[in-house]
């Protein structure tokens, strides 16, 4: 949000120096700032942020390759929750964090943390059943996940795991250290897997 506020302030200072589309975009950011539906009220305490970072790192730890914290996943998760999710998800996410706070998550040892997260994971398997998640095809290039509408937001575990993976496996370091990154394949070939074949990423 800071960047956006800064842009708007700069715009105010410079007045007419901006093109119509830019000003329009800024006007939209202003609307964005003011409109209640955007859920910008979603904030975390410092302690909660530490838990998010810890859980993300446990999902994708630093090994021979960077981990979730190395590539900025914790901040990404918060930004995504603010920008792309609404109140029901904010609530369920905070509920999940509250649950970990009660368990003194940050004070547990690694083994205990793993046990707690496994329990959270298993509970969410049951919770997810209500959503009847389905992969659907919309033409040949567009796959969509369809879910039954629920009053309750997606479970905490699903949110943090999905956003951790998305944040990590689409980050530059995450892509280049995990996959064979081929932005311009130049050809299309049906091949046989090599030993230890990594996924191609494009």
């Amino acid at each position: 949000m800071n960047r956006r506020t800064a842009i708007t302030q700069v715009a105010a200072m410079l007045g007419g120096a901006f093109s119509a589309p830019t000003l329009l975009a800024m006007k939209r950011w202003e609307d964005y700032e003011q409109s209640p539906s955007f859920g910008t009220d979603f904030t975390l305490t410092e302690n909660q942020k530490l838990i998010v970072a810890e859980v993300a790192e446990m999902i994708i730890p630093k090994t021979a390759t960077p981990g979730a914290k190395d590539v900025g996943v914790p901040a990404f998760i918060v930004m995504m929750l603010q920008d792309c999710y609404k109140t029901p998800e904010h609530k369920s996410f905070l509920e999940g964090l509250g649950n970990l706070e009660k368990k003194q998550f940050l004070n547990l040892n690694t083994e205990q943390k793993t046990t707690v997260l496994k329990q959270v994971e298993n509970d969410s398997v049951e919770e997810m059943k209500a959503y009847q998640v389905q992969q659907t095809k919309m033409g040949d290039n567009e796959d969509r996940e369809q879910m039954a509408a629920q009053a309750k937001g997606l479970p905490f575990w699903r949110l943090i795991k999905e956003l951790t993976m998305l944040g990590y496996f689409t980050s530059e370091q995450g892509i280049k250290s995990s996959f064979e990154y081929v932005p311009i394949p130049g050809k299309l070939e049906m091949i046989q897997m090599k030993p230890n074949q990594k996924s191609f990423a494009y």
Binding site: C84, Q134, M138, N141, P185, E189, K198
Partner: protein
């Protein structure tokens, strides 16, 4: 009326083309190549080929929300967003802000628009199939709506003409249901797909082929002359291709038209009405509004091609009122805006594939398999009319599989860096029957910011479509099961409406009789012969194949006829 009075001469052309998308581009190319001075009017901003493809070569990490749509964008693009991730940062700039360009839904209509140079050709699905002989005869045979005034043979040479220019990769199969065209080398099928094709042919006698797609697998000299190169298999077409690897008006028809030095393009210019001349019984030009300055101007031409996109073309006709046409230009039959068709989708099945562990794919194929219609074809008879095709295929799962499976930690992370198992799925595209009560009209009071009446949509799927959808899901399940795949799951989305196929059509149909149709067999407005409509609005029935190549063939044919009629001094 605040007319900007430049000299009439500077405002006079041989032809005006309204729209720069799939058919507007083709109309401009054909007319300029035949020697006409053409003015192309585009309501949206200018997008320059290659230069303005801002997101084309970005890495995944360069998109703030990594391909997801923010709540903010979802509200701005409230209609686009119904399709999927169109409004994300990769492609959002090339779709229309629905908040700024509202429309009214008496019944839900998923209207996907792209107001800029090239229109929706910039991010079309590129699947290019000819309609078959029976598609043109079905209405007459079954007593549905009205008969097409043309047959397959009328379009055949024009299919050839546009296929060669566009450049379509595919496999000729010799099937009557899917007439062969002129194809560049086909893209390969993966191992599970080859197995699937063989099994379907053998066990169900159902045809399966590789998609016929407008990507260059082997560019021809006339492609490279326009600066187009071979597909690089990035499969990021919808962002715009810096190689010109896929066909769009931006990579193909507009550069070809510019080469003639006879094309003038106006951007940010909204055509508000066609001006009818009561004395000559012809249209004399088009009134336009600049979308930024609101300045109103008039442009004049001997012939006018309307290619604004089916719904906007109909809206333009409805908004062009005169003493002769009090309810809109060419609307003597009251058919303008009626018979909205599309292809219904969001129904099919998915499965997991065991085996083929050692098979993998290098490169991203911007294409899928195609299963042409088999329903109500030959000896097959169902309790609904017409049929559907499927698009889909096999892919090897990537890290995203991890989202829904249990696991976390070091070994999970390691596992996610490797390909998973194969999955296979198909989604159907079903024919929609024409129905005069599926319509759009102009709102009496509400106007957009340019003072043009808002479009009201009043259309829905009928019994035939709903019955067909059940069969589409069941047949997809059946095929995947017959192939021996596992975890076969059918889907039939109930949250789709007309429009979502982005093949909206039928609002100014061709026909033999001016009493029940808007256009004649050469796409001329029956009672105003120098106005041609050659976008999807002209369609009499929808068939179940992706329609763009048919629209383009129709456009080239109409342009040829228009120029011949000009020479004969009939226009």
């Amino acid at each position: 009326m605040n007319l900007n009075l430049k000299s009439d001469k500077a405002h006079t052309f041989d032809a005006i083309v309204v729209g720069s998308g799939m058919t507007g581009g083709m109309a401009a190319k054909e007319l300029t190549e035949k020697g006409l001075q053409v003015l192309m009017i585009e309501r949206g901003r200018e997008v320059k080929h290659i230069e303005d493809y801002d997101t084309a070569t970005k890495g995944p990490w360069e998109f703030e929300h990594r391909g997801r749509v923010s709540i903010h964008s979802a509200e701005e693009y409230w209609a686009n967003n119904r399709f999927g991730t169109l409004a994300n940062e990769e492609t959002g700039p090339f779709f229309t802000d629905d908040k700024q360009n509202p429309y009214i839904e008496k019944r839900p209509f998923d209207w996907i628009r792209a107001y800029h140079t090239g229109g929706k050709s910039m991010h079309w699905g590129r699947q290019s199939y000819r309609m078959n002989r029976q598609d043109f005869e079905a209405n007459a045979k079954e007593g549905i709506a009205i008969d097409w005034p043309i047959r397959y043979e009328d379009l055949e040479p024009w299919y050839t003409h546009v296929e060669k220019f566009v450049g379509i990769s595919g496999q000729a199969e010799g099937w009557e249901v899917l007439p062969d065209g002129h194809y560049l080398p086909a893209m390969p099928m993966s191992a599970p797909e080859r197995y699937f094709r063989e099994t379907m042919m053998k066990k169900l006698k159902r045809p399966v082929t590789i998609g016929r797609v407008a990507n260059l697998t082997r560019p021809q000299p006339w492609h490279t002359d326009l600066g187009r190169a071979s597909c690089q298999y990035r499969s990021k077409c919808a962002r715009g291709c810096p190689y010109g690897g896929y066909y769009s008006s931006l990579s193909g028809s507009i550069p070809a038209a510019r080469k003639t030095n006879r094309l003038t393009v106006l951007h940010d210019t909204i055509a508000s009405e066609v001006i009818y001349d009561e004395k000559t019984h012809r249209a004399k030009g088009v009134r336009v509004i600049n979308q930024h300055t609101m300045a109103v101007e008039e442009f004049f031409a001997k012939i006018i091609f309307l290619n604004a996109g089916s719904m906007n073309t109909a809206a333009l006709l409805l908004n062009s009122k005169s003493n002769r046409f009090p309810t809109g230009l060419g609307n003597d039959s009251d058919q303008v805006g009626r018979n909205i068709m599309d292809h219904h989708l969001g129904v099919g099945a998915n499965a997991t594939v065991e085996g083929f562990e050692n098979d993998y794919i290098f490169g991203q194929r911007p294409n899928a398999l195609y299963i042409p219609r088999f329903r109500n074809w030959g000896t097959d008879k169902k309790d609904f009319l017409r049929g559907y095709g499927y698009q889909g295929g096999a892919s090897k799962s990537d890290w995203k599989r991890g989202i829904t499976m249990n696991g976390f930690g070091a070994s999970f992370k390691e596992d996610m860096s490797r390909p998973g198992t194969w999955t296979m799925g198909f989604g159907g595209f079903g024919e929609i029957l024409p129905d005069p009560s599926n319509r759009m009209f102009l709102d009496k009071d509400k106007k957009d910011k340019w003072g043009i009446p808002l479009i009201v949509f009043d259309a829905a799927f009928g019994e035939n479509e709903l019955a067909m959808r059940k069969d589409m899901m069941a047949s997809a399940v059946e095929m995947l099961e017959v192939a021996g795949f596992k975890n076969v799951t059918g889907f039939n989305r109930s949250d789709t409406h007309p429009g979502l196929g982005i093949h909206d059509m039928g609002t100014a149909r061709m026909g033999k009789d001016p009493k029940n149709s808007v256009l004649n067999k050469f796409n001329q407005v029956h009672a105003c012969k120098n106005v041609f409509v050659t976008d999807g609005a002209a369609m009499v029935s929808s068939a179940c194949v992706n329609p763009s190549i048919t629209y383009m063939a129709m456009t080239a044919r109409a342009a040829d006829y228009a120029v011949a009629e000009l020479k004969r001094q009939n226009l």
